[in-house]
Structures are given as C-alpha cells and as structure tokens.
Symmetry: C3
Subunit: 396 residues, 3 copies
C-alpha cells in the first residue's frame, strides 16, 4: 500500500466516521417529569406566544392603496354681508378632485374686487405715519402687505398709514364669527372608494365588500355598531367619532384623519379580511405651543373687467381637510419565517438538558450517584496514565 | 489554607473546568453515509431555499419616491351642442400639475351660465307639485338641488315642480353619449419622471436610465417588448396593457394604476436595478355591487358679468385618473439577517444526530452492539452501588 | 402481567427515561481559558453587534404621516412687458392648498387673451408653406399646435405657415430670461406642520416639539446649527442646504425634496425622538440624458368677454416643487425578535465546544491522553464482542 493510498483511506475513514455522544439513561419518574415538564414549557411558549400571538410564522407585505372620494350635499347661506347663496360641491370642495385628501370649506373671509392698485396699509405700529417722510418708497416689509409708494395717506378719519402698491383693497381679517358660515356642512356625506393590493400575495380588495349590494349602498351610512362596512360617511359623524365637535372645528378649520386599517391575516384558516375605520384629529387643537391653529389657505378667483383689467376675489378658506390614511400589513404563512422561528425554538429546546442536568446534579438525593456515572473527572496535573474514573468533582 | 481561599480555588476550578461529552466513534460506511447524507440535505435546503430563493441573508429597505408627469397632445371636438373647439393640456388635465396622479378629461357634461337664482327643480316623485301648498318654503331636500322657495312653477308645458333657489339653470344629466367627447385622448402621451431612493443603502436612481440618451427619449414610446425602459407612454397603450378598451373607459371614466416596481437586489453580484412597469385598472368596471361607477367630479369656472354678477360654468368631468404607484423593496447582504438565518440553519444541523442515532439504534443489524456501547442504563430503583453498565435498554 | 400492560409500562418508561450525555471534565487552565475565551467572543459579538449596533431585539413599525404647509411672502415685479405687479401667496402657490407637496412659481411665460380662433402656426420645417396646397384641411400634427384649416397665411412679412384652428394667439416660447421673474421668492418662508404616528406602538408626535413655545415659533427660522427644531424654513436656505443655487434653479424650475426622518428608538432607555431634516434636489440638473429639464406646467385662467366669448390667459409656470417626504421606522423592544435573535445566538454558543474539542485534540500536548478518555472507537468490521476501548483513532 502506497503512502498516498493510506492517506486517502484515512480521509475516507474520517469522512464516514460517525461520532455520537455516549449517553446515560436515567430511568426515574422524578427526573423524567422534570425533563418532560421543562420541554413542555418551551414548546408551549413557542407555540403559544410566537405562533399564536405574534404569528411569527408569517411572511408580511405592505399595502398599496388607491382612494377616490365623492362629497355630496349643499348648504344655503343668508348673512348680512353677502347675498343669499347656495353652495354646492363645486363651490366648497377645493381642489375639486377627490383624492386621498379632500377639503370641505366651512368658513371664509372674502375680499372681493381686488385690483393691482394703491391703498393705505392696515394700521400697525410699523405702518402708521404722520407725513410722507415716515414712508420709504420701494420699501418691502415682510410683515406688510405690499411695496410702499412713499406717501402717507388717510386709512380712516383718525389714522394715517403708508400707502402701498398691492392687491387693493387689502384683506381685513375680522373676528371670525363664532358660528361657521357653512355650518350645514356637518350633514354632507362622503363616499370613499378604496381598493388595496398586497402585491406579494396577489391579493386585491375594495372597501365595498362583495356581500354589499347596490340598494344597500344607496341608503346606508357608516355606523360602527350597525353599518360597520358602509363606505358612506356623514361628516358630523366622522368628526364626533374623533372626539371633536363639528361646529367648533368648522370655525377655524382643522385636519381630520380617516384611518383605514387593512391589517389582515391572509391564511386560509384565518377570518375574512375587512377594513377597519377609525378617525382622529391630526392637527393640534389648542395647545400652548401652536402657530396658525386650525387649517386655512388663501386662493383667488380671477376675473377680467370689461375694459380688460384683471380683478380677483381673494378667499381665505377655513375648513376641514380630511386625510384618508390607508395602512396595513398582511401576513401569510411563509416557509422562511417558519424555519427561522422554528430554528429559534429548537435552540431553546437545547436549553432543556442544561436545566435538567443542573436539577439532577444539585437537587436530587442521588446526585452523587448520577454524577459518578455521568461525569469523568480528568485532572490535568495528574499523571496521564492514572485517572480518577468514577469519582465525582463535577459541577458542584 | 483558609476556608475563603479554598472556596475561591473551587470557584476558579469550576470556571476553568471544561466539560465535553464523551463520544463513541462508529466507523461504518453505512452509518457514515446516512450521517453525511442527512447533513447534506439540511445544508442543501438552507443554501438552496433560504439563501438562493428567499435571499434571507439580506437586509431590506423600503422605497422613497418622487414622481413628475407631463401629458402631451391635443384634441379637436366639433359636436352639435358646442362650437368647434381645440382642447389642449391646460384644458383637459385637471389639476394642471403633474404629480403622482393625473387626470385626463375624456367626457363631460357642461352647464354654462349658471347664476344664483330661482328655477324649477328637476322632476322627480318628491319634487313634482300641483300648487304652492306642495312646496315648503325653506325646505332643504338632501336629494334635491337647492332651497325651496315655496312656489310651484312650470318645469315644462306638462310638468310642474317646486321652485328652488340654486345655481340656475340646474345641471341636467343627459344620457352620456356612447362615444366619449375627447376620444382623441387615446393618442396623448405622458412622460413620467420618477426618482427613487433607498435611504438605508444610499441608493438613488431615476427611471430615465443612464444608458438612455436624449435623442432616443425624443422619439421613443414605451413598449414592453421593444422599448421596456422608455418613460413615455401612449395612453391607449397603457389602458390596453391593463386589459381594457380605451374608448369604453373614456365614456364613464375610471382609475388606472401605473405600477412601477423597483424591487431590487443591490448586492454587487446581482444584476442591474431597473424599474418594471405594469398597468391595472383600480376601480370596479361593472360588478353587481357598485355605486357611482366610473370616475367623475364636478368643478366650476367662475366668471363675472359686466354688471358684476357672478356666473359660472359647471363641468361634470368624466375621465381617467392615472395613479402612479411606486413600490419596491431593496435587499442587500446584511450581517444581522445572515447571522439569524445561519443560526436557524445551525439549529437544523443539530437535528442530524437525532436522525442518525435513531437510524443506528433501530435500523442497523448491529443495533444492540451500538446501543450497548453508546448508552448506559441507570435504573433509579436499583441499588445505587450496582449499576448495569453495558446493558442495553435504550430507546427501543 | 398481560401483554398490553407490559407494552404500556415500556412506553411509560420510555417517556420518563431521561437521556443525558456522559461527559468528561478536563480540569486544565489552558483548556479552560480557550473555552471561556471562545465563549466570550461569541457573547461579545452577539451583544455588541446584534443588540447594540443593529438593535435586532426590536420590533419595528412604519410611519404614518400628515403634512400641512403654509407659504408666506410676496414679490414685486416691474418688467418692460408687464405692468408693475405684486404677487402674493394666492398668485404664486399653485394649487393653493398646502399638502405634502407645494409649488412656488418663480418664472413664467404668459400668453394672454387666447381665444378659440384661427392663426398661423409657429414656423418650423413641417409648418412653413408656399401656398394652400401645402396645408391639408383637418390635418392634426402631434407636434403642431392645432387643426390645420387648409390655408397658407403670413406668419410674418417673410414667412408663410399653415393656418390652424387653436387657442390663438399661440404661445411663443421665448428665450427664458437668465434672471427669474419672481427671484424674490428666495426670501419666502414656509411653515411645515407634520404629525406622525407609529400605529403599532400608539406613538403620536408633531414636528412642533413640546418644548417649543409660541413666541419662539413667531420669530424662529430653521438653521441646522442654531435652530434645528424650528419648523419654519426660508426657501433660499432649503435650496442652498441641498447644494443648489436658488437663482439658478428658479429660472427653469426643479423639484426639491424636504426629507423628514423620524427614525426613532422608542425604548424608554433610548433618547428622545426628534425629526431630522435634510434637503435634496430630486430632479436631474443637467445630465446628458435629460428631457424637459427643470419643472414646469401649463395652466390657464378662463375669462368671459362681455359678449360671452371664452378667453383665457395661458401660463407656462416654471418653479420649484417642494416635496415633503416623511419617512422613518420606529423600533421598540419586542419579545419575538429578542427570542429569534437570542435563539440564533444560542446556536452560535453550540459552536464553542466544536472549536474547543478541535483545539484539545490537535493542539494540546496531552491530546492523545484526552482523546483516549473522550472517544471510544468502534470498528464496524471488528468482532462485535471485542472493542478497542480506550484506544484513540479520533479526529486526527
């Protein structure tokens, strides 16, 4: 036999040698009970907590969502400073398109017939003046309303202010009325159509559920108790579900979240996947640290006078912006998370013998007897040839 | 030696005692084969499934995306009820700005010259009347069009309805023509610019790929087969890829998802990261349970007459809303998921001896011989001093 | 004893048999050191890298966010081709509502007094003509501006082009001025209100932090060094933080991302959760492969002349779109990821004996001595009754 062949044979032997631990079987009811009970605890924990409570055996996917909204309703106003007027969807929903966010105007400050011209500034410590020397031509005060022309003119019979070039007349912010102009908006309804996708699981669903028929949809209105799946919401109901008072919120405006939770368990043995609606005010109502409370923005309607001059109506619109926030995570049985979590569970089973060995070698009456048979003590300092087999020094 | 010193020495001994299982090496080709084969199976599974198929060794990150769109094209209409008219981007894209969602108007119901005034309600069972007693002044019917004035007036020569204060004349919803007004919209094109970021991996990319040059961009058009990376899409092509007919969809409107999938493997050994486009209709076409099928919304253009009266043109716009949905998850080699999954794999390797021991002790001819050497049986009931060493009762 | 009873008893014995490996304790400082050191390495790695650096013991949740923006400032223009004019928020923020994206117009091409009528096409190789034969009635050139009427008319004293039916006069794209019209926009400020939610952890927060009071908010301005939590941003500052020059960007427009990073560690022992702002230009400035560089869109203001004809002012608006991108992942101690990662760590501890055994049996001087006591070699080919106990062939 050559040397190489011998080496190869050694290698082969090594590859096919199977090394298995020598074991000691202890046939004792008490020890067995401890062993099985510890095992049971680990299994119960893994099955109970990891699998049932946390569903760690599932793969997850994030939602993709598309939303349309359609507001319905109209309001009639008849106040002293405006002609009687009917407001419909095209008037109070700005911008008109129903996306994942829509705005319903509930109050406003209207400044009609503004033109590019000259007018006295609104009175304030920095704009009042005595004569033209107090006003600097071309001065552009960031807190002001326009470019100063350098003249000091009468704002009222008692106050003189610098004249500015701006959209005149200037917007005068009056005390907002305590009662919102379009208070009737509380009875408007909104239809929310939401279709969602979990791309990883090829799962598509709409919030108009399959068991809902058209005649139901024509008359239903969302109510957590009686109609939890109706996609038509009364604005007042939304606001009150969020713990707010519609009429309070309508005066200065605000932002209200309509939260649609599509968190679903898509395993076939799990229940149906339905959207859950909740509502929450997203802006800060009246905290200490607040700037520009409520929600408002300015927009203008532009007109041309017959002689071609541009004029505009400036509207400071107060109202409620409804943000539709769709979120959710779907879980479905997946082989990889199952393996990873099952692997982790197996690791915990390897703790069981550690616990049991400790129990046997410290708590049992026969601990010395068990220890003698389980452990061989090999003292490094001793003579290599004489070992104290069968003598216990183990883990005490 | 004091007692404390002795105790310390015991502790030190314990800390530096190394406990290792006694093992039995079985040098047998059959056993070795079973052992190595089982090991191979586990390794193959871990490498093959967990690493190659599921890429469980990767960290993942979610996408951040920014989209701009720009529609091009114009349409010419020449119908009996309207003057010949050319429609360009500023007319049919509402709102004008190209965000992650854009709307192309394809059909419309126009109600021009509306003013705040009085007119008879549209006839319906609840609005027809015989005399003024049937109409209640100030009544506000949510399904009606305005505030009743209390008068009963002629709607037509045969029908009388209650008069309302509203934007008059009222919008009359005719039968929508079978052919969309702006059917030419099918040849409009849209340029989609999309830049994405995976913040965790500091990865930035645009859908206009580096190898695309300007001259190609000027003439190309997306086609899955020939031009899969051209960011310019013909609307008709998008709709037909989604399995719909543009002219059908244009009549009543709808919502079409342009889905850009940036799922990428960012490991250096993986391929390039390119966007994948797909198209899907997001609203429900003609199911049983549908309300307000299609997609439409109302908006108004406001004018002022020379004598200062406000008048508006109400437009109920039907059209296709294109939602650009960008999603994706990037994966890149990460040390933590690698460790977690490698750990799980190691746990499975610890199953190998269990399988092999079972095989040896039950299936092999020499099972008694192996068992005798592997296992020592310790009977709890027996005399502590006499044990049956070398006798097998093991796991049979 | 019946056979069944015997079988049951066997089963019970099996269930309560506890099998534990026989072990060899080596009491040697050197071996013990290697053992403990290897153990320490694994524990340090797990604690240090997995727990401290990667926080793998945490559950994570994705952010839900709501944004409002409010721009402030005005600009005055006085150019030769336009009357002196003041621009305020209602003029330059389009659309007017402050969502997660807002557009500030900085430059424009205005084409006033367009009506549906006939006019000569803009000259180009395909539109110039010599006589009417060169123009086809009803021809609709996608690169043209309207429907050809079939006539060839004078565009200027030297050039004849085909007449088209379109919104006339046509928009003429001049050389954009090197200086943006609304260059004063750099001093506009924007207030960003952002409220975020981590639904899994029931965590709500606003970017106006609790310790900020109203008087600070009235005068503060974001500055990374001095005011990192002020939610009011000067547009020029945003653009320069993104490494761009406002005046350059204002000419042709662009898209600028305001990125708010809410990545937070919500564990009670971790620090506070504050937003981190960063800024990045999202469109491509001047690369080789670019189409339609910058950012612009067309919109129109519609007017009616006293005789009822519709006329419009077409505006090609150039400007900066600010996209507010909110992202973040919150982590909080979770029992499941802790278990999974602790499980993985335990698996690594099971590697320690492998390393130590290898060290003992190959590197130590007394390796034969250890091997003799640790391993029993069982040769399959040998006589079952005669085994070479105590002889070492192990893993050499």
């Amino acid at each position: 036999m050559t040397r190489t062949a011998g080496y190869c044979k050694g290698c082969l032997n090594y590859v096919f040698d199977y090394e298995t631990p020598k074991t000691l079987v202890i046939s004792s009811i008490r020890v067995g009970c401890v062993f099985r009970f510890t095992q049971l605890l680990v299994v119960l924990f893994v099955v109970g907590y990891v699998c049932v409570v946390q569903k760690a055996y599932q793969e997850t996917d994030n939602i993709i969502s598309s939303v349309t909204t359609k507001v319905k309703g109209f309001a009639f106003t008849n106040t002293s400073d405006m002609d009687p007027r009917l407001w419909d969807v095209a008037d109070y929903v700005i911008p008109p398109q129903g996306d994942h966010s829509f705005f319903v105007m509930t109050n406003m400050v209207v400044t009609p017939k503004q033109t590019q011209s000259r007018c006295p500034e609104l009175p304030s410590p920095s704009t009042t003046c005595v004569d033209d020397c107090d006003c600097i031509e071309g001065h552009n005060d960031p807190r002001g309303s326009g470019i100063q022309t350098g003249l000091c003119v009468n704002y009222s019979s008692t106050v003189q202010t610098c004249e500015v070039l701006s959209w005149c007349p200037l917007e005068i912010e009056p005390e907002l009325p305590k009662h919102a102009l379009l208070s009737a908006a509380e009875n408007f309804t909104v239809l929310i159509k939401n279709s969602v996708t979990y791309p990883k699981f090829k799962f598509y669903r709409r919030n108009i559920l399959p068991h809902i028929n058209s005649s139901y949809l024509k008359r239903c209105e969302f109510n957590r108790a009686t109609d939890p799946h109706c996609p038509i919401f009364r604005l007042k109901h939304i606001v009150s579900e969020a713990g707010e008072e519609f009429q309070d919120m309508a005066v200065k405006g605000g932002i209200l979240g309509i939260i649609i939770d599509w968190t679903c368990d898509l395993d076939p043995w799990a229940g149906k996947c339905y959207p859950k609606y909740s509502f929450r005010r997203l802006d800060n109502k009246h905290p200490v640290n607040n700037v520009a409370p409520g929600y408002n923005f300015r927009f203008a309607k532009y007109y041309k006078t017959p002689d071609g001059e541009e004029t505009r109506t400036l509207i400071k619109a107060y109202g409620i912006r409804f943000d539709i926030i769709v979120f959710g995570t779907a879980g479905k049985f997946g082989i990889v998370p199952t393996i990873v979590n099952f692997g982790a569970a197996l690791s915990f089973l390897s703790l069981v013998p550690v616990v049991c060995d400790w129990f046997i070698l410290t708590c049992m009456k026969k601990r010395d007897f068990y220890s003698k048979h389980k452990t061989t003590y090999l003292n490094d300092d001793a003579d290599p040839d004489s070992i104290s087999m069968g003598t216990t020094y183990g883990t005490q």
